[in-house]
Amino acid sequence: MERKLDLDPAVIERCRRAAAAVADFVIGFARERSTVSIERATLRLMGVGGADAEGVPLVNRVVEAAAARRVLGRGVALSFGAAMAAAGEDATGTARLIASGRVQMTAPTPGEEDAARERAAALAEAGCERILAARRARDGAIGRLGEGERPLLYVIVASGNIFEDTLQAKVAARAGAQVVAVIRSTAQSLLDYIPEGATTEGFGGTYATQENFRIMRAALDEVSEEVGRYVRQCNYASGLCMPEMAALGAVERLDMMLNDALYGILFRDINMQRTLTDQAFSRLISAAGDLTINTGEDNYLTTADPLKAAHTVLASQFINEAVALRCGLPPARIGLGHAMQMDPWMEDMFVLEVAQARMVREVFPEAPIKYMPPTKHMTGNIFRGHVQDALFALASVMTGQGIHLVGMMTEAMHTPHIHDRFLALEATRMVMTAARHLADEVSFRAQGRVQARAREVLAQAAEMLDAVAREGLFAAIEKGWFADVSRSPGGGRGLAGVFRKEPGYWNPVEDRLRAQVIG
């Protein structure tokens, strides 16, 4: 990575050191805890699927049963292994019996324990093998088809109906999209379960379900062959079911997952203990499945001032990086979020944005920055908006970004119509083609506006990270240092689903993945 900004490596180093301290705390905190969703994810990877007659997923039923019988503290796997012996059924069959109350979730007797462990471990092994199979299939397809030029053009589909979504996704892929993200229904991140089956109704998005993952994957595989280029699928490992989403994504060969240490806390008011614990586990799964995670810093500047709070984005990126590395994700799979949210009428907005966008590339040279288009300053003026998005495309190609979220001129008003995406891709591709090697050609005046801005933001981030390391992440969040939003450690949703691991806690999936990923 050519160094165009003359950033001080010592300041970058200082940021990394502080972020490491924060991440060590997060990982340490998470290691001592588990959550209902981690246990459900474990069950899912052990092969439990389906729902009961009321539509409640069996994994929820099993975990509830374990909690009711107070055996959850040692992990659901062990008692589920024991239950299988009692049931004499496969994983889903056993879960069904547990759900209907015909088999109990109890701690195995010392005599049963080995057999229970063995059974559970075998199921976990099979689950992990499914993740690896998906990974191999992806590698094969990309090896065969390639995936086109960088930055990857990322678009959303969000009709609420998975079947409409596949149509829209195929049209988008043909128009140049390289990543298709299915936006989730508004309410889903607050649901403490994952709905079952194909869905055709949603608000501002389509429910994330295993079946919907499968349907979209099939459509994208089909269009990948047609366009001769592998098209990636993206969804959210986020919200109350973060670990389960990661598990289903890894198994169904999603390629990217929005997954952030702070997003749920700040923007969905999910409890911070819950999110951070879920976070660690879900990233382990993504690492095992070789998925790229996309972090959520691009959201911060929708509430905070993009000029004054730019360093909070950078600080958070350092933290997300440090946490991800500790979960076994290599830098090349850490899609750090970044956004262009400046008021387009601000003098030199573009100049400052180029500074920030280039800065993040130079600070994280291997990370495929996920670069978010202007959304906050979009209005119903679709013509002006189309130009804002064009400036964004230029900033992106001019600073060498990795994942380009394609802006839509109708962003302020509706989730994209079929031609919104088509026109947006056309304009983006045109700008990027026209400016393909601009990044190679330009350099920035020494001590000029661009360099000065980048250095200023980096210095502020270093200050902030030192303070976060000093005061602790929880305190920093409580003080509203990120995104201008304040949350307390005991507040928000989902805290009840967090528990301290009891002595003897056992999770064969986690063990297996950790062995693979971290060694």
């Binding site: 043909r174 508004t186 969905r268 008011d269 209005t379 509706h414 119509h417 088509f422």
Partner: protein, 268 residues
């Protein structure tokens, strides 16, 4: 609720004093491109048809049914998978009698920060109590914060900064029941609700539900009910049973002025 394109009553009205451009007839208003009454209109849409001559003609006929003539297809694109996209221009046959359009409006006069505080002090004699929230699953707090938070919006302070307002901002994703309970507990004079997510008209459903609850609780007469959001208009709010509605670009003084004046009006 009536569909949005039918709101606005039609009763005669004097043409407002602002002059129309030379040649414009207020009784027969037509779109304008570069010549008075040329009717120039731009239209775009996709069709679930593969691009071919018949699809193009279908697009043109649709525009014809919309009342356009001299239709030109400026652009067409094959989107693939049986879809095609069109940009058309045409001349609109329809006219509207502007002189007879009447639109309900929030009719209070706008006051400034000091003026509002003074007004409450004199006419009410105690601070007004205001509760705000984004209801349903809506997590878009920027809009309601713009009205309520200290720092305010567009250079104006939010209601929290007014000595004569007591504000309780409940934030995002608040169930309507919770909002109602907290409002009662807080003895709110006004309830401010924000709705930004509007897919499948979820905002209308949420807002109507809230009004029903407030009425069922028997407190509707005691509070001013105000809603806002990018797709809220005063008409829509009235139809939903609110006292006022505020759309994009609303600033705190506008809302505060309405609250105080309407509150005092109802005192009498």
């Amino acid at each position: 609720m009536k569909p949005q394109d039918e709101v606005g009553q039609t009763v005669p009205r004097a043409v407002p004093p602002v002059a129309l451009p030379p040649g414009a007839d207020p009784h027969q208003v037509r779109p304008y491109g570069d010549t008075m009454n040329d009717g120039a209109v731009q239209v775009s849409f996709s069709l679930p048809l593969p691009l071919n001559d018949e699809a193009r003609e279908t697009a043109r006929r649709l525009a014809g049914k919309m009342g356009l003539h001299d239709i030109l297809i400026y652009h067409e694109a094959d989107l693939g998978y049986g879809f095609s996209f069109y940009i058309l221009y045409g001349k609109c046959r329809h006219t509207v009698d502007y002189a007879r359009v009447v639109v309900p409006k929030v009719s209070t006069t706008r006051m400034g920060f000091e003026e509002i505080n003074a007004f409450i002090r004199e006419r009410v004699g105690r601070p007004l109590r205001v509760v705000g929230a984004c209801i349903g699953n809506d997590a878009h707090t920027v809009g309601i914060d713009a009205i309520l938070n200290m720092k305010g919006y567009a250079g104006e302070y939010g209601l929290e900064r007014y000595p004569m307002f007591k504000v309780l901002n409940l934030g995002s994703q608040v169930p309507s029941e919770d909002l109602l309970a907290r409002a009662v507990e807080f003895r709110a004079d006004a309830v401010l609700v924000s709705q930004v997510v509007t897919q499948k008209d979820i905002h209308l459903t949420n807002l109507a539900e809230l009004v029903d609850m407030v009425e069922a609780e028997g407190v509707r007469e005691r509070v001013l009910m105000i809603c806002g959001g990018p797709r809220i208009t005063h008409e829509v709010a009235l139809e939903l049973g609110f006292d006022a509605g505020f759309g994009p670009g609303t600033t705190p003084t506008v809302v505060a002025s309405f609250i105080v004046q309407e509150f005092v009006r109802r005192l009498h």
